[in-house]
């Protein structure tokens, strides 16, 4: 009987700890929502900032984040999906494959500021793109490439061998059977990985700190070589380097709220899609 008492006590302790963690998550979210919601208005979302960010809206920052994320996805998705197809279909166990996996793990574990530094040294200075959307997107693409490769590879591996075997037995070549038979079925998993990548790219500051972001630009970017405002960088500057902290607090909360809502909505879409497809494709 004694051991049953120990079991109930320990289980309750673990339950309380886990729910404390969940409580902390909701506390963060509700604090930002409670203080940020009053600051949100249609003007806030569609106007340009005035008086060095103390009034007005954050429209260019939203556009900037959107442009950066699009550029990142255009670069990272094809590259990531191609790498995943190579790793799951064509790669033979050997030195090269081991090196590729080692490289993916290393890239995934690199600190984001080191990637930002690399982006500064390589894209901005060496390739002479300057601080531009181009350098920022390429740096962010390097950052989310491992995420996309890993999730795409998982999606491809979850498709049973019989798909490929059936297609090959009917006379299709290897590339044809992958392109027309396996890849379309893996699209849900790849899409989920892509959406998670979008969420990460939208929220990261350190890579864009040195390569693209500016705080106060008078007009929207007109070419891919322009600097751009971005939501995470905007929040960082408002929170730490603005001289008029009292006046700017509601805007800080508003920007934080927009950013967290954006990332949360993206993640919820990804998680829902993943569980929907997991239930649908039970093969």
């Amino acid at each position: 009987m004694f051991r049953n008492y120990i079991q109930s006590i320990s289980f309750w302790a673990l339950r309380i700890i886990t729910y404390l963690i969940v409580l902390a998550i909701f506390f963060i979210f509700f604090d930002i929502a409670w203080n940020g919601l009053p600051a949100i208005s249609w003007a806030f979302l569609t106007e340009f900032p005035r008086h060095s960010g103390t009034e007005g809206g954050i429209f260019p920052a939203i556009i900037g984040t959107f442009l950066l994320v699009s550029g990142t996805m255009l670069t990272a998705m094809p590259l990531g999906i191609a790498s995943a197809v190579y790793l799951s279909e064509y790669a033979k166990p050997g030195k090269l494959t081991r090196f590729i996996r080692l490289a993916i793990v290393t890239l995934a574990g690199t600190p984001s500021i080191v990637l930002g530094l690399f982006g500064l040294g390589f894209f901005v200075i060496f390739m002479d793109f300057g601080t531009s959307i181009l350098s920022g997107s390429l740096t962010l693409a390097c950052m989310i490439l491992p995420t996309i490769i890993v999730s795409s590879e998982e999606a491809l591996r979850s498709i049973p061998e019989s798909f490929r075997e059936g297609s090959l037995s009917l006379g299709a070549t290897k590339w044809e059977s992958i392109y027309k038979n396996v890849l379309p079925c893996a699209v849900p998993g790849i899409l989920t990985g892509g959406i998670l990548g979008i969420g990460r790219a939208a929220g990261e500051t350190a890579p864009i700190l040195l390569t693209v972001a500016a705080f106060y630009l008078p007009k929207l970017p007109s070419s891919v070589y322009d600097q751009v405002m971005a939501l995470p960088y905007h929040l960082y500057i408002l929170a730490t380097q603005h001289p008029d902290t009292g006046k700017v607090l509601p805007l800080q909360y508003g920007t934080a709220f927009i950013l967290i809502m954006l990332v949360l909505v993206i993640n919820i879409i990804a998680i829902t899609l993943r569980s929907y497809f997991r239930k649908k494709y039970k093969w």
Binding site: R15, Y86, G116, E204, L235
Partner: protein, 315 residues
């Protein structure tokens, strides 16, 4: 006569279609080869990116080592801008990173592992369906938002609660960093515990143990490699975190072991000083040296974790 013409026409067209078929097959073959080559190139991009990162870091850090030598870096004062001699000792920065990381690990590891145990073994199905996405949502919160939350909520709280002069301390930074590490630790530990074969648990129940005894004596020791890998990956993530520490730990490059004093980590130094440093100066190279050290630390942690995970998968 018509039959001859008919046969000749048939032969002519068959030859044409055969040629077409042969041509199609050959172009299919070359398409295959092209596809294979392109995919191989795409696969090696990750290697190229990592190699160029390492190359670049070393190339830009080299001028400092060549001019001033490594002993310049092993000093206890980081004063890169000074009217007298500039000091580039990175020991205060390393100690800052270590304090913040150790404190974060002290709270994140127990909380994360307990959460993983609860979710993997004790929670019922509906609870698990709610808890897992919640933890994943925590992983998705951007680090700037967490830093901002720390700045406006946690910093004043720490200041009032402990009666300090400023709330921007290593402790605040560590508590926020724990939030970033907990999802990583929890999800990988939970995977590890799920991979323990059912036969282990069944054997333990058959011998008369109840659930808590099974978890404590059988499941956790069996999943220990995976849990260790999860902890190392979480610590690796904390090591490389920039924005939270930049906003919340106070940015004072002093060498201290007290959790109540402001510190400055390697990541915060790079982020804060890189924007204002003249290109090509020794300060610039010194910042790249710091990033080499940082990359080295995270690389070691991630490699150890990966080796443990691989060994577990092979078994």
């Amino acid at each position: 006569m018509c039959k001859v013409i008919y046969v000749k026409l048939k032969k002519f067209f068959l030859k044409k279609t055969n040629k077409l078929v042969i041509h199609n097959n050959m172009s299919k073959k070359s398409k295959e080869k092209q596809a294979h080559l392109l995919l191989l190139l795409a696969g090696t991009t990750s290697i190229l990116i990592v190699l160029s990162i390492m190359l670049f870091l070393f190339k830009e850090a080299a001028p400092f080592i060549i001019d001033n030598g490594v002993s310049e870096l092993i000093g206890t004062h980081w004063r890169p801008v000074s009217f007298q001699k500039e000091l580039f000792g990175i020991l205060p920065l390393i100690s800052g990173t270590l304090i913040v990381t150790m404190l974060a690990a002290c709270s994140a590891v127990p909380l994360g592992v307990c959460g993983a145990i609860y979710i993997a073994e004790i929670a019922n199905k509906t609870e698990r369906e709610i808890l897992k996405p919640c933890i994943e949502l925590l992983a998705g919160i951007p680090s700037v938002v967490l830093g901002f939350f720390g700045l406006v909520v946690v910093v004043p709280f720490v200041k009032d609660f402990f009666g300090l002069e400023t709330g921007l301390t290593a402790l605040t930074g560590a508590s926020l960093l724990a939030f970033m590490a907990i999802p990583t630790i929890t999800s990988i530990s939970e995977d590890a515990m799920g991979n323990v074969p059912k036969s282990y648990r069944d054997a333990s129940y058959a011998l008369g143990a109840n659930k808590a005894q099974t978890i404590w004596h059988v499941t956790i020791p069996a999943a220990l490699p995976g849990i260790t890998a999860a902890i190392m990956l979480g610590i690796g993530r904390v090591l490389g975190e920039t924005m939270v520490v930049l906003m919340v730990t106070g940015n004072a490059a002093i060498m201290t072991f007290s959790p109540f004093s402001p510190v400055r980590t390697m990541t915060a130094t790079i982020a804060a000083e890189m924007g204002e440093v003249p290109f090509g100066s020794s300060h610039y190279s010194a910042l790249f040296c710091i990033s080499v050290v940082l990359m080295f630390f995270t690389f070691i942690f991630n490699m150890i974790a990966q080796k443990i995970l691989n060994r577990q998968q092979n078994v």
